[in-house]
Amino acid sequence: MSKRHLYILTAVLAVLGLSLFLYKVRVLDMPLTPGQERDVWTVEARVTFEAKGEPVRLSLLLPRSNPRFTILNDAFISPGYGLSTSADFWNRQAIWTIRQARGLQTVYYRAEARRLVRPGPPRKEKPPEPPQSNLEGPELAAGRALLQEVQRKSADTESLVLELVKYLHLPQPDDNLKFLLKNRPDEADRVELAVEILALAGVPAYSVHGLRLRESRERLRIIHWLAVYDRDRWRPFDFATPRAGVPPDYLPWWRGPGSVARIRGGERLQTTFSASVDQEASIRLEREGRAYQPALIRFSLFSLPIHTQQVYRVLLMVPVGAFLLVILRNVIGLSTFGTFMPVLIALAFRETRLLHGIVLFSLLVGLGLLVRFYLEQLKLLLVPRLAAILIVVVLLMVFVSIVMNRLGIQQGLSIALFPMVIITMTIERMTIVWEERGPGEALKQGLGSLLAAAATYTLIHNRQIQHLFFVFPELLLIVLAATLLLGRYTGYRLFELYRFRALLKGGS
């Protein structure tokens, strides 16, 4: 009776999931594979500040369309604020105002940046006014000396700019440069200084600040480059590596000196940027011409803020990992420490990559075990002992990070993302099993956990699977159905065949 109930339930779930999935594939043309073209991006600026209870005026510079990117669909999320936008020669700007605000405020700006597939060369433009340098007094003298030095090695405007960029990045700056930078070896200051020096040489230039569009869960850093008027056109020059032109994934956000956001009536202003390939827009591009937006798309994960979307990209893989664990444990018979510990470890491997992850994890657990065996002699009570191991684990993480950093091994730093409580419990359980059942059993279960974590990692970091579950979360209904069915799987586990083989030899 209860079996039939189960079958009906799983059938309903599977049919529901499958039909939603097929509808989205067949009717809505949603892509089954992750898009190869990354031409439409959603970019987001998140501004937070502490309001002091006075009138607040917040201004944020916005990106504008240019020969390489078209900026579409500005969206502002700022409950309760008045909003106006304006533009001048340099920038577009949004101004938020409110009569009174108190406490932590968050304001979002989101837009779609569509990369032009074949950007033309920069447009021909009239020569601007000859630039005026803002350097004065001793700074002017130092700037002139610097310019002379650079001019000696260059032949034309392009080589002048490249030499200047190289000079500004010398690992051992000379006294002139040190004086001009005033011990602020900041890229933003360097690029403004470059503009001033070029003005001394009579070359019109301005600084450009923007993002390098990359899929990443982390916040994007602002990068800087130069636009120089040369041979009738404004031409970009990369600043981090001296070369003419910039890579196609540089999205200009604002131009000229000054910071992207300014505030009056608040403090602790912070602006963070993120970007992601906009799958929804890619889909929409293909469907352009149809008038309506189906609710299924409007109510999809794509409507969430980008940062939340990135979180869900990961979260949606946890059930998939759990399902794999069900198979590993109940069908194969692998024994692991803790039911879902391997899934969490696999999530932590995301940053370290598999090999480093396994090495770091073994290192951490191994060192932890040594400490735990020592603590055993002190005869501590359970909870203080667990807390002591936790503290030691955190110290070990710090230690490993520092040592790895000294050795120049970048992956060592991501050890910080290991779930320390899980590692603590693993160490404790492993010691207990070690003492009670012997080292063999402890190592067996430890290896089983690592194996399960590695398998889970491979599964949940597959780009295709990630894409499928993110675009079609209803597939989880099918996973749920399969899990329920496995909940009544009463066949032998793979390892039991091995366990009971003695029966076959003697019994029959």
């Binding site: 005869k379 799987y489 009463t490 032998y492 065949l497 029966l503 076959l504």
Partner: protein, 319 residues
């Protein structure tokens, strides 16, 4: 691989998934688990029903009681400390006696009083309990085991495991401690399991670490052919425990004391599957047989007679 599975199925071997889904989950209501998971409750329930158990010397419930416990530990015949909610023999310490102010275990290790205290603290903090919850430590009579197993056990206490299904004993084995299992009789610790002919109560060949053995690895004595005394009583106790606990699928652990006869040690709501290897027989065939005939068996005597009739060596070949 699939042929192997088919062969096992043909033998009626019960797998862990099938045991959980079709037997423990189906026949053991969860609300009854505390009765068997808590050895203190089990003991009281058995005493009330007149089933003999090892005498309880005391219960340590809180840390402050640990200092006072040594007063009741001065027993010449030793004692046993076990966590009330322990599983699989974890956390059980068997002390043979006091020696120059230190406690000597049956395997010849020593515990100083502070070390024994620490062990009890660990028990109380839930180190050995099933869900890691705070636990109690039981201090009880150390069984003076019957000489019948002297030849085939390496120190420690051998015990008898009977699997009872719907009140009918279906399979039994005797678990013998080895040097590897450190005096404990649990199979996963390296103990030896010998199947028992339910009809006669004599031992069959044995299994150690999933391998068939004929002789005890430490003593070298032949394991099969030993007749267990008071077999009828043991079967009756096992069947009675099933009625008492209300659990349909139950593992009953019984020890044989030299003076007091069979004593109930503990009950297990999720008995292990190694018993099948020890007996060289699958459980499923017998379980199906019980399911078929159970409605016709009313009294406990009938059920035991049914078990002795069907699940012996001679009957086993036929059934």
């Amino acid at each position: 691989m699939f042929t192997l599975a088919a062969q096992l199925r043909a033998m009626g071997v019960l797998g862990i998934n099938a045991r959980n889904a079709d037997y423990t989950l189906a026949h053991n209501p969860r609300r009854l688990y505390p009765l068997v998971d808590d050895k203190f409750q089990t003991k009281q329930m058995a005493l009330k029903a007149g089933i003999p158990v090892p005498e309880l010397y005391g219960v340590v419930e809180r840390e402050v009681q640990v200092r006072g416990m040594h007063g009741i530990l001065e027993k010449p015949e030793g004692f046993v400390i076990k966590p009330a909610h322990g599983s699989g023999g974890d956390g059980v310490v068997v002390i043979a006696g006091l020696h120059r102010g230190r406690y000597r275990t049956i395997t010849g290790n020593f515990y100083t009083p502070p070390e024994l205290d620490h062990h009890v603290y660990n028990v109380l903090s839930g180190l050995y309990s099933l869900a890691g919850q705070p636990d109690q430590a039981l201090i009880e009579y150390r069984v003076q085991f019957d000489p019948v197993f002297d030849e085939v056990s390496y120190k420690g206490v051998p015990d008898i495991r009977v699997v009872v299904f719907l009140g009918v004993p279906v399979m039994a084995m005797v678990r013998l401690p080895t040097r590897m299992s450190e005096g404990k009789a649990n199979l996963h610790l390296g103990g030896l399991g010998a199947g028992i002919d339910l009809t006669t109560g004599t031992t069959l060949s044995a299994v150690c670490r999933n391998e068939r053995v004929e002789e005890h690895p430490d003593t070298g004595a032949c394991i099969s052919g030993l007749t267990i005394p008071q077999w009828e009583t043991i079967l009756d106790m096992a069947a009675a425990c099933c009625d008492l606990s209300g659990l349909g699928y139950l593992g009953v652990d019984i020890v044989l004391d030299k003076f007091r006869g069979p004593l109930l040690l503990e009950l297990n709501a999720r008995p292990g599957l190694g018993i099948q290897i020890a007996n060289g027989q699958g459980l499923l065939t017998r379980l199906h047989l019980v399911e078929q005939h159970r409605p016709a068996l009313t009294s406990r005597e009938e059920r035991i007679a049914f078990a002795r009739g069907r699940f012996g060596v001679k009957a086993g070949a036929a059934g």
